[in-house]
Symmetry: C3
């Protein structure tokens, strides 16, 4: 289990870093200062894991007790500070980093729930909550409409797929560092391709169509 544990810590820290960059990018676009950039990076990158650890209810959240978790947000704010001016495509970049965080957190959140003794359904739920929680906090805090509810952007669905695959692999004993990376790649690809190709699911009401996409696109919204 040593290598798996170690792989998980690295996957978790990588996820923290990806989400932190998405937070600092949004802070930059919203004209926050450098302190606000560090804070928003921290909220989005550590928020999902803090919610996860509070729900598991087994001691203080690791983001507070282990100082190594502060490195990724600081690094992200520095990176954005020095490199943002050369950023050409802000939305693409934010989506890519957000997708990276989502792909890793749906795995580590699910695993942490299962190793804490929660049942498979609860583990999937908590994995998805961990994955979407940070981004939801980011958008609420920055007073944006949450990406999670953007009907032109599949967000929760890839996280559900990742949490489900992780649970399945764990149950049949095939979960390891390699399969973890494969699941992460599947989730990342699903999220990014869906966004690029404008895949979507039906609206919340049968027969309603997306506004402003033209009649031909609308008929596709029916599924």
């Amino acid at each position: 289990m040593f290598t798996l544990d170690l792989a998980l810590v690295w996957l978790d820290l990588a996820g923290v870093f990806f989400f932190a960059v998405s937070g600092s990018l949004l802070a930059a676009r919203k004209q926050f200062d450098i302190v606000g950039s560090v804070l928003l990076a921290s909220i989005v990158s550590l928020g999902g894991g803090v919610i996860r650890d509070i729900v598991i209810n087994n001691g203080p959240p690791i983001a507070f007790t282990n100082p190594v978790y502060l490195v990724p947000p600081l690094l992200a704010a520095l990176l954005v500070y020095f490199l943002f001016s050369s950023v050409q495509r802000f939305t693409s970049l934010l989506t890519l980093f957000d997708a990276g965080g989502l792909a890793l957190f749906c795995i580590t959140g699910t695993l942490k729930a299962m190793t804490a003794g929660m049942n498979p359904v609860a583990a999937i739920l908590l994995g998805v909550t961990t994955a979407v929680g940070g981004g939801l906090l980011r958008d609420i805090t920055a007073n944006e409409i949450p990406t999670l509810f953007n009907a032109r952007d599949l967000y929760a669905l890839p996280a559900f797929v990742g949490a489900g695959l992780t649970t399945l692999l764990w149950q049949v004993g095939l979960f390891n560092g390699l399969t973890a990376v494969m699941v992460a790649l599947v989730v990342f690809a699903f999220r990014v391709v869906a966004w690029r190709r404008s895949w979507y699911v039906p609206l919340a009401v049968r027969g309603w169509h997306r506004a402003g996409t033209g009649a031909s696109a609308n008929s596709g919204a029916r599924d």
Copy 2:
């Protein structure tokens, strides 16, 4: 206690269902997709109880550990998906379902706090928090001004009445399935009648009047 416990589970699940419908209704009006509808229904219907269980600090929240709590949000999203097109009065419907959830959650939240050994004041507070928490999360997440703070809508007051009555009945040993339903009806009626008849309490500042309601209405705001 068996029948009371069973009654409470059903009251709680009914409250979850009512709030879930209010979440899916708002998702429909905001043009979220079906996944966003399920998610918003889950946040509003399970959020109050998750906050309650986190505050009680006695193991993971039941919404995560007991999969039966996922049925009402899924059901609500399905109902709204198939039936929303025929909805005539959106606001009335959302208010009615929201009032149903409020009426049941202020009871079950208060009881859960008392059976966890909290004092009566804490139990009332937690009952109100449970009752208004989900709706607050719904409105914050959907980027709306919270109903909780709408000065034309009594929202917290009926919840306080319900939590207070529940605590009183429990202390004098008269709390049972029947009195629980009666308290729920009182809270529901209070909330809906107050909304229909535009009852209100004074504004946060003495001498200030509600804008845009005409001079005669303003004088009534003075209390």
Copy 3:
């Protein structure tokens, strides 16, 4: 330790009162009713401590279990109700009360974390979270852009200074009621002077300037 404990309870309650007034002031300006004023006062004044106690994960939050914590929000709502009409400079007043709460909470939050056995870095983090948490909840709930992210307002930095000084004094054994009050005054003065004199830190991106402050001011933003 008795006098220190007692001093801490009073400092904590004073912080609760200051934040509660800031909540009721905002409720007044947003035309909430008196119930909304009590609720927003409660959320902002008790929210930071509730988050702190949930993170520490050692029983229910004190704001729920000790009814004395309800007195400051009720008092604040009453004060604002009777005296607000005579308020001349709303923003100054809100900032002063908010600064008072911030100055006290970064101390009590840090101490509570250390006495719960958390490491110094975690204690500083939790102190800052306690101090900025209530104001963040206030602004999110009232649908405002959080003061925390206002690039023209140093907010988190004074809290970091206060939490750091508290940890330092505690570690070297010089923390007592007197030094606590001195740290609070330093944080309060830092926050208020920075706001009055428009001190700021660089924006989140190198080379970017604050909009609308003229060319001369912009060059100063580079630092």
